[in-house]
């Protein structure tokens, strides 16, 4: 695979606050790459550096091997789909899509041909003369994509393009975007804070936090093999416990030894242990590896989400079996459900659901807040 964009040790600060800290990233041809992270993690800044709206304080940016860090946006062959689409209100649908072609002064015939091809791609044929203000959000989104793709950029940058859409439409657009990416073969760099979106669409997910890249990998890798507590918590739900690796394939946490499949750690090395809520089986108290009391049960349609207090640590468990609050239950964890991680700066910060409801509030605030 050909490397299209390469960020090398890129750093960027705003008003003395470090937004990007020594970020290095390779983006390959034909790839659907997602920058994932909470607001303030630096994902949008990364995107704007690639687009040329920001210049890095340090480090370099290569486009097909050529350093473009100081090239102005209009000289880069990347295009952007903005979070709020940034359609030109004084132009109609046709003229919005034709805009980059007119800037290049292409002949009218060619413009018409390319615009109608784009309108076909985004299923908006017949909307040429419409004013963009009369379109729905989803339609505006498609016009923005068509406009960004019409001049055949090597890379398309998408800045939380689905954030303004409602859930149902967002799901449809995810599929559509993926289809468009496949049809055009253009490299997509997609920014989102929605981990589900990232997992479902991407070839590669880049998890970012506090201006640093935490992990780069396929969605399955990221989910199954999170590198640290931050990734484990941010991608899906996780019970993260502090433990000790007694020896290869044997770990001790919650006051008990568990068999596991991980190895290669130093004997008695302190580690973080991840157990996904869906990987915990509920058994009668007496036959459980761990025992605790149910503190809350939430019905979520397909499954119940229950919180179990085990010696003061609150576990989240997703199960289709019904249990009642205050019921005393046992938990059983298979060796392959246990994932062992190195200790990191995030150890101890995530993975305990004691303050679940509050954390949930914080999360929803972060989602609705605009990305810096």
């Amino acid at each position: 695979m050909r490397k299209i964009i390469e960020l090398k040790n890129v750093s960027k600060s705003f008003d003395g606050q470090k937004v990007l800290d020594n970020v290095s990233l390779d983006i390959y041809d034909n790839e659907f790459l997602t920058l994932l992270g909470p607001s303030g993690c630096g994902k949008t800044t990364t995107l704007r550096i690639i687009a040329g709206f920001e210049t890095p304080d340090a480090g370099s940016l290569f486009f097909l091997g050529e350093d473009i860090a100081s090239l102005p946006p209009h000289r880069r062959s990347v295009n952007t789909v903005f979070q709020r689409y940034a359609l030109f209100p004084h132009l109609n649908v046709f003229e919005n899509i034709a805009f980059p072609l007119r800037v290049k002064k292409l002949p009218q015939d060619e413009i018409r041909e390319k615009v109608s091809e784009m309108l076909r791609l985004v299923a908006l044929t017949g909307f040429e003369r419409r004013s963009v203000s009369s379109l729905s959000g989803g339609q505006q989104q498609r016009v923005a994509i068509a406009r960004a793709l019409v001049s055949r950029p090597k890379v398309l940058l998408l800045d939380e393009p689905l954030a303004a859409l409602d859930l149902k439409l967002r799901k449809d657009m995810q599929q559509e975007l993926k289809a468009i990416q496949k049809a055009t073969g253009v490299t997509f760099v997609f920014v989102t804070h929605d981990q589900e979106e990232a997992l479902s669409m991407s070839d590669t997910v880049v998890v970012m936090s506090e201006g640093k890249i935490q992990q780069i990998g396929t969605p399955i890798d990221i989910y199954n093999e999170p590198r640290n507590a931050f990734v484990a918590d941010f991608i899906g739900e996780s019970n993260i416990l502090s433990g000790v690796m007694l020896r290869d394939r044997l770990v001790r946490f919650s006051g008990r030894d568990f068999d596991c499949v991980d190895f290669g750690f130093d004997p008695n090395e302190p580690v973080d242990v991840v157990v996904r809520p869906e990987d915990v089986d509920i058994v009668p108290a007496e036959s459980g590896q761990l025992r605790g009391t149910v503190t809350s049960v939430t019905f979520l349609g397909v499954y119940y989400e229950i919180i179990v207090d085990i010696d003061g640590f609150k576990w989240m468990i997703q199960t289709t079996d019904f249990v009642d609050v205050d019921e005393h239950i046992g938990l059983k964890i298979d060796p392959d459900a246990i994932h062992i991680m190195d200790k990191s700066e995030y150890s101890g910060m995530f993975g305990d659901y004691s303050s679940f409801s509050e954390e949930y509030d914080e999360l929803s605030q972060a989602e609705s807040g605009a990305e810096a």
Partner: protein, 655 residues
């Protein structure tokens, strides 16, 4: 609304709009009175558009407002963009405050300070007068600028900041992105700012008053100056027009402001339907159309005023005898064009000479005394000068403006019709004589008036077709006084004319040329100068000769300024010009009459051009002119005598 609230609202409305309603009503009043409404009339509107001076101040005001709003819109927009892009928040806030100061600052302080600055800078560069159109324009731009910034800045702040980024992302340079995306986006603010600047400049009085130069007056200043005397209802009409102009601008601004921009934000929905939704609501579109329509109507109106009100060249109306000025025909000097050129050269601005002609003193008199016309310079004959002077139809001349009057020969000063030369400057002098065809008339029959009564030439004699001259021939023949007030004397002359009538081929004025030149007639009585013109054009086999019988009528035609004159100084400049060497010689050579201008009759070139014989006929001893003139010149007669002459003349002509 409760009834009390309704009444209250109505009162407020009344309070706000009563003055304008009264203004509007009285602008249509047919009377001048402010207290009585006499009936509907557009009289004052018509008067307004006839008032060239007011129109020209309206024009000044509009030009100033257009220039000030155009410049301040461009500058203000640029300033707003600059402020918007300032990185530092503190600096931005400071700029905001600073631009607001001129708006809050009392006009009088702005006005005085601007005036001080202009005078100071003017002195610095040694200018004598530092206030002019340009200082006023600068002043207007100064106070318009903050309002434009105030309109444009919020539009920039409302604009989605990713729009210019999107444009650059799609290949625009930053400047191009500004032109193609930001400008259209903030256009409502720019237009509103421009309209505000225009209206502010239009009605500014205080600042204009302090910064206006003496050559450039705006409407508010003119109206203010009028209030010292009386404000004519013309001004009500004008104020009404201005009120509706501003109202139209206001409506336009509102239509623009609540236009597409606001609609757009509220209409964003996430229905995601793939089927085309209906077109944008037509209300939004038609509002734009109405705004554009109002703008177009106003633009036409403003351009119209600017064209109509443009200062016209002053026009000088000269009313003269036909063929009585060297007009450039047959390679002669063009005295009309000459005057326009001379005036531009000496007075620094253009003038248009409107030259019209009359056929007789009586025609001219009838026109002038009717009061329906306005001429600046007329050229009546002596007796008519006396008559018009006595009737108060002439203005005394200001010789300060006619220094060339010194060129008039001594013999031609203080003639009876204007003893003090207060009202007239002589243009030509001449006398009547007899012209005959030597091939038809025996030399022996010539020498006195008898030729015209000689039955030998029955049917080949021509007589004047004007009463005074025709009677004169008979009176001179009979030795009667041409200025007699005795009806019997005139009756005797009539008898002589009646006796002559069977011999007369025709009573003529201008037709005399053809008849004499072709040899159709044998002899005629006419003005000496015209003999040369006939002799020049005589047909082969015709040999025209001239003699002056004794006594004969001498006459003078003189420049006068009638009381209907619109531009006396210009009229005097014209008279002065006609006494200059070049036009005076050209006219004398063209008309072939005697010229009372020393520069002419003492000039050798002129004498050579005219020839010895002609000089002898035209200037037969100038020393004796005064005496001879006083004896034989036609005097103005009392109206009853004139009436009698008229009826006697008609009696003759009826036969």
């Amino acid at each position: 609304m409760k009834p009390a609230a309704k009444v209250y609202t109505a009162l407020i409305m009344l309070f706000l709009f009563a003055p304008i309603a009264i203004l509007l009503v009285f602008s249509f009043n047919s009377a001048k009175s402010l207290s009585v409404m006499q009936g509907f009339s557009l009289y004052w509107y018509r008067e307004l558009f006839r008032d060239a001076e007011t129109l020209s101040t309206v024009r000044n005001t509009l030009i100033l407002a257009l220039a000030a709003s155009a410049v301040s819109t461009v500058m203000g927009t640029a300033a707003a963009v600059g402020i918007f892009r300032l990185r530092s928040r503190a600096l931005r806030a400071a700029c905001d405050t600073v631009t607001n100061i001129p708006m809050i600052n009392p006009d009088i302080i702005t006005g005085i300070s601007l005036m001080l600055m202009f005078v100071f800078v003017g002195r610095l560069f040694g200018a004598a007068t530092s206030l002019n159109f340009w200082t006023m324009l600068i002043a207007h731009i100064t106070f318009c600028l903050p309002y434009v910034i105030l309109q444009v800045l919020p539009k920039l702040q409302q604009m989605d900041s990713s729009l210019p980024e999107a444009a650059m992302d799609l290949g625009c340079t930053p400047f191009r992105a500004f032109l193609k995306v930001e400008i259209p986006e903030i256009m409502p603010g720019i237009v509103t700012g421009a309209i505000m600047a225009f209206t502010l400049s239009l009605d500014d009085f205080v600042i204009s008053y302090f910064t206006a130069g003496n050559g450039f007056q705006t409407l508010p200043i003119r109206i203010y100056n009028m209030t010292k005397k009386t404000v004519t209802p013309k001004m009500y009409a004008l104020s009404t027009i201005i009120f509706f102009t501003i109202l139209a601008l206001l409506i336009m601004t509102n239509l623009i402001d609540t236009g597409p921009g606001v609609e757009r934000r509220s209409r964003r929905t996430d229905d995601g339907a793939a089927a085309p939704a209906p077109e944008a609501p037509s209300g939004q579109r038609s509002r734009g159309h109405i705004a554009a329509l109002i703008g177009a109507v106003l633009a036409v109106f403003i351009i119209g005023i600017i064209i109509v009100g443009r200062p016209k060249k002053p026009v000088l109306n000269v009313y003269n005898w036909g063929e009585y000025i060297s007009d450039g025909s047959e390679d002669s000097f063009d005295a009309i064009q000459g005057f326009e050129d001379w005036y531009l050269e000496n007075y620094g601005h253009e003038v248009e000479l409107n030259y019209t002609t009359f056929a007789s003193n009586e025609d001219m008199y009838a026109k002038i005394s009717s009061g329906a016309v306005s001429y600046d310079v007329i050229v009546p004959s002596d007796y008519m000068v006396a008559r018009m002077r006595s009737e108060g139809l002439l203005l005394p001349l200001d010789y300060e403006n006619i220094p060339n009057a010194a060129n008039i020969g001594e013999s031609f000063r203080g003639l009876y019709y204007d003893p003090d030369d207060a009202y007239s400057v002589p243009y030509t002098f001449n006398f009547t004589g007899i012209i005959y065809d030597a091939n038809q008339v025996d030399e022996a029959d010539t020498g006195d008036w008898e030729l015209l009564w000689n039955p030998k030439y029955r049917g080949r004699l021509l007589q004047f077709n004007n009463s005074r001259d025709a009677f004169g021939t008979a009176q001179f023949r009979l030795g009667l006084d041409v200025n007699s007030e005795d009806p019997a004397s005139w009756r005797a002359a009539l008898d002589a004319l009646k006796q002559q009538q069977p011999l007369i081929k025709s009573y003529v004025m201008d037709e005399v040329y053809n008849m004499m030149e072709s040899g159709e007639a044998a002899a005629c009585v006419y003005y000496a100068g015209d003999y040369f013109i006939m002799a020049d054009a005589q047909a082969p086999g015709v040999d025209l000769r001239f003699y002056a019988p004794e006594p004969t009528n001498y006459f003078v035609d003189a420049f006068c300024i009638p009381t209907c004159c619109q531009n006396k100084e210009l009229a005097e400049a014209f008279i002065n010009y006609m006494l200059e060497y070049e036009p005076a010689v050209a006219n004398a050579e063209y008309i072939c009459y005697g010229c009372p201008n020393r520069l002419v009759y003492e000039d050798e070139t002129y004498a050579d051009d005219m020839g010895e014989d002609a000089m002898a006929i035209l200037y037969p001893g100038l020393d004796a002119f005064h005496e001879r003139y006083e004896q034989t010149a036609f005097r103005n007669l009392p109206p009853d005598v004139l009436n009698m002459i008229n009826s006697l003349w008609e009696e003759l002509k009826i036969n």
